[in-house]
Symmetry: C2
Subunit: 242 residues, 2 copies
């Protein structure tokens, strides 16, 4: 039976989603728990990885498990043995041709920035920028990311992938109580892409860059032109659509 | 010169505010940093202690320091060597008869409860109750705490203090996005008093207790009558008034 799980995690104490030898990862913890339940190795396939310190409000993954258990009981069993920084929100049975990564239609990410003074309570959950940003300029700039673009300037500089083209469907910048939340929805995101776009937007908000620089940088297809990468702790995988 | 500091901390990784041998405490960290600056032991006196895992948004403390430094530079110096879970928001010079504990006029505490599903990201910052509560009943019940009362039923059972009388000036329960925030302002709070009042209110919200039980429990002056103590992680010292 193939199961799709919807889960959240606090990325603070993980070396990212993807399994690594001798490092605490989300996939590693999930597979450890499934091993206990199934008494054999069960591979977990997520919608995509998240980097170290990045959080997820709604991540999805599938796995195959041939023990006789209802979805609701499987959810309870998993949560009862998972560490407190991962939580399974929903378990559902899916057909065996469903794939948590290949079937993704869209993803949403949010990035949070504190523009007020340093707050120790949210130091692992919001980028402590602690200075003013010109939000109106950032709102004008972010629109240039919308649509179909080659995002080579906004991904890992030495990444070797075939296709740098992605479509961003929707963007938004909200400000509530000195917390700036930057929202992106798209058909897919390259490695570091959200954090690099946010870094560039912060430079616009600081006045270091012009609004239209976004378009030029996209055109240049060169990572060295896009400036700073925003810290991982402000990033949340918000949702995945199938 | 006597200095008053206004500071915030994330209580998650502290054994409370007050110094203890071989344990990481907020006072211990502050005194360690002041020792580095002054090259001698400097005692820090706070408005009061907070227990292990309890957070502070605005705590206050005073200390005497005879090095020649402006308040603004002292703030920067302290923050540059303090660990990331403590932050000095303000430093000001006060007269030498000022005392951070004895001069307190009022204190505010808030307590946060998540009534939606478990959220790993806020597991150290909001009590994960994860079930419904009857907020209207709790709003009626909390009013009974207002005014002058003997709070012996709501403090540590074996506490030996002379005076259990405190005045609560104001209470409020707000609900935003499935987070219930319970607010108390008073002239002072006994040990565990807020968490015990919140525990009792939760039992009212669960339907386990009647609204008027609050008055009866206050009358009984007996800790065993007041029920559960709410977990420390939901509690925040919000403000101190002088």
């Amino acid at each position: 039976m193939r199961y799709l799980i919807n889960f959240s995690y606090d990325g603070s104490n993980f070396f990212g989603y993807q399994k690594q030898v001798d490092k605490r990862t989300v996939q590693g913890e999930l597979e450890k728990v499934l091993f206990k339940l199934a008494n054999k190795k069960i591979s977990v396939s997520a919608s995509g990885r998240t980097d170290a310190l990045v959080h997820a409000l709604n991540q999805y993954a599938h796995f195959d498990l041939d023990i006789n258990i209802t979805s609701e009981k499987l959810k309870k069993a998993l949560n009862s043995i998972l560490p407190s920084d991962i939580y399974i929100k929903k378990v559902e049975e899916v057909t065996c041709d469903f794939h948590a990564r290949f079937n993704v239609k869209a993803k949403e990410y949010i990035y949070k920035i504190n523009v007020d003074e340093y707050n120790p309570i949210e130091r692992n959950y919001i980028y402590q920028y602690n200075k003013e940003l010109d939000i109106e300029k950032m709102r004008k700039a972010i629109i240039f990311f919308e649509g179909v673009h080659n995002f080579k300037s906004f991904t890992k500089s030495n990444s070797e992938i075939d296709d740098y083209e992605r479509e961003i469907y929707e963007t938004r910048i909200d400000v509530i109580d000195n917390i700036v939340t930057i929202y992106f929805k798209g058909n897919g995101f390259l490695r570091y892409m959200v954090r690099n776009m946010v870094g560039c937007l912060i430079e616009v908000g600081q006045g270091k860059r012009d609004i239209k620089d976004i378009l030029n940088i996209l055109e240049l297809k060169d990572r060295t032109k896009a400036g700073m990468i925003a810290p991982a702790c402000g990033l949340y995988l918000m949702n995945v659509y199938y």
